[in-house]
């Protein structure tokens, strides 16, 4: 079912006409209200009036995660705090996380787009949605929640964790739609199996999976194990949250981006040059309807490509391929964004440590595990085992505290971490995704 048939099936010319109109209004607005954007225009010797076509968007510089950090917490907001009804923050960052805000109208827009996304993923009014995305500063849980209510589905706000209780709820409440990270969903299936419950006996029909990268082979596994149709959902808090793009369950071939609210571009991450449709590069977003936190040419660091061809589902909005990687070294571990540099700064806080470390990511029983190997330096070393064990435990709890992700810290011998041209190999990702 197409939730908003008028907007989701617009002819391409109508989409671009709406985009240009909304883009101009957004640029006028940020130029007047957000000093960062005014500066950006001034440095590029531009004013909003210089943007007369969608192609002119390329003249505007990019906005990066660092720009958002530099304006922590509210510097990028385009409305007074009195008009902000919700605040979210990005997961797993040290120092300054990125903070985003929503007006009442933004929340309504987000709910509408999530309702569209849930519909595209197979949900209808009357469905029961088991929402196992985390509720809190993370946008996943509440994003799905508001969309489910807007759609008229019944939402079970179960959030993450307490897996056994979740299985009991699935069995007793009879949910028909699962919304969760793909890895946690497979974990649910395993725990259910241990409890003697098969997903084949549950009522699930569709699963809407996101917040971490996954693959076609994982789709096969999810569909087989959970006895559902699995679709991919995409979003990031800086742009809105979940519901920026969604795969339709009819085609399961790329995610429709809601182009009446966002303008996507693909760029060469090295040169910043905009690439034609079909070519693979870094995804960049401009929001064209947001009030509290408009974002102009935001570099997502996600690698994908854009495809404007018509889709069998009837939607005319452009499709992006499943995200295949990152143009930086960010890892997503159990839905938490982790940069090696953040681990490095935690290690540096324990002043004795020379930062010779390596992150090893694995997927054990469908859950991501992070091991941080730290080379034992001269100054760090002790002849007493308990001091070394205390050090491991302290580093592990520091990482948990600052990054919000559980990690096992393992001390290793000096020079034992593989180096490539003298530089330690920082990340080994053994996950088969």
């Amino acid at each position: 079912m197409i939730y908003n048939i008028d907007f989701e099936t617009l002819p391409r010319e109508a989409i671009t006409a709406i985009q240009l109109k909304r883009l101009k209004a957004t640029l006028e607005n940020v130029y007047a209200t957000v000093p960062f954007y005014k500066d950006m225009f001034r440095k590029a010797r531009l004013t909003p009036h210089d943007i007369r076509s969608l192609d002119d968007l390329q003249k505007i510089p990019f906005t990066t995660k660092q720009d958002l950090r530099d304006n922590y917490p509210y510097g990028m907001f385009a409305v007074p705090m009195a008009n902000v009804v919700r605040i979210h923050a990005s997961s797993g960052t040290t120092g300054s996380p990125t903070v985003v805000g929503y007006t009442a109208r933004d929340i309504n827009t987000w709910a509408e787009l999530m309702a569209r996304a849930l519909s595209a993923g197979g949900a209808h009014r009357g469905d029961i949605i088991h929402n196992a995305y985390g509720y809190g500063l993370f946008t996943g849980g509440l994003g799905v929640h508001y969309g489910a209510e807007k759609l008229g589905a019944s939402v079970i706000p179960v959030s993450g964790g307490n897996t056994k209780r979740q299985i009991v709820i699935m069995k007793d409440f009879g949910p028909t739609i699962l919304t969760a990270t793909p890895s946690y969903s497979l974990h649910l299936a395993e725990v259910a199996k241990d409890m003697g419950i098969s997903f084949k006996d549950l009522k699930f029909k569709f699963g809407i999976f996101g917040a971490e990268p996954w693959s076609e082979s994982m789709r096969d596994e999810l569909e087989e194990t959970l006895n559902i149709t699995a679709v991919d959902i995409y979003g990031l808090s800086e742009v809105m949250g979940p519901g920026v793009a969604i795969e339709c369950h009819e085609a399961k071939n790329g995610l429709h981006i809601f182009e009446d609210h966002f303008i996507p571009e693909i760029i060469n991450p090295e040169t910043g040059e905009v690439l034609p449709y079909g070519e693979t590069g870094e995804l960049v977003f401009t929001s064209i309807t947001k009030e509290a936190f408009p974002i102009i040419r935001y570099r997502t660091r996600d690698i994908t490509s854009l495809h404007p061809e018509p889709c069998i589902c009837g939607r005319t909005h452009i499709r992006m391929k499943r995200v295949s990687g990152r143009s930086d070294d960010m890892l997503i571990i159990r839905g938490v964004n982790v940069f090696p540099s953040q681990i490095e700064s935690v290690l540096m806080k324990t002043d004795k440590i020379e930062p010779h470390y390596q992150l090893v990511v694995d997927r054990v029983d469908n859950l991501d595990t992070l091991t941080v190997k730290v080379e034992v330096s001269e100054s760090l070393f002790s002849d007493e085992i308990k001091l070394l064990q205390t050090l491991e435990a302290k580093l592990s709890s520091d990482i948990k505290e600052y990054l919000g992700v559980s990690a096992k810290v393992k001390l290793v011998e000096p020079k034992s971490i593989a180096r490539s041209e003298g530089k330690a190999v920082r990340v080994i990702d053994n996950r088969k995704i």
Partner: protein, 142 residues
């Protein structure tokens, strides 16, 4: 009256102990006492050697993390209750023992290596109680 102990960090790979001891053998260094403390993840090999500086250099050159610690070599009467008497003296004086291991030596007298958290206090108590403590030079040469 202190003895310098060398300790090295080992990831739990059985072969690494043999590598460390052969590095010392190649450098012409004798091992007087040795003890391995380990966990499931890693181990610490503690050594009393004939030439501390040379051993430290040889091991560092081969990439080991090397530490030096003051320990105390104590004579233990070679009869039942010999060690227990010393431990009681220390306990009474509230001296904390981090760990103990045996000195390898074929003779009629037993020697134990003690690691204290406060070595100077421990030495004072041992001497007050007429318990024999060896000099470093004597131990390295034994």
């Amino acid at each position: 009256m202190k003895v310098i102990q060398i300790s090295i960090f080992l990831e739990n790979t059985g072969g690494r102990i043999a590598e460390a001891t052969s590095i010392l053998a190649d450098a012409g260094i004798n091992i007087r006492a040795m003890s391995l403390a380990d966990t499931t993840d890693f181990g610490v090999l503690r050594l009393i050697v004939s030439d501390v500086d040379k051993a430290e250099k040889a091991l560092k050159d081969q990439g080991f993390a090397v530490g030096k610690t003051n320990v105390v070599a104590v004579q233990v009467e070679d009869k039942p209750g010999g060690l227990n008497r010393i431990l009681q003296v220390l306990a009474k004086a509230e001296i904390n023992v981090e760990y103990i291991y045996a000195f390898l030596r074929d003779s009629d007298q037993a020697i134990m290596i003690f690691r204290f958290d406060n070595t100077d206090n421990a030495l004072k108590i041992l001497q007050e109680n007429k318990i024999k403590v060896f000099k470093g030079e004597d131990i390295y040469a034994m």
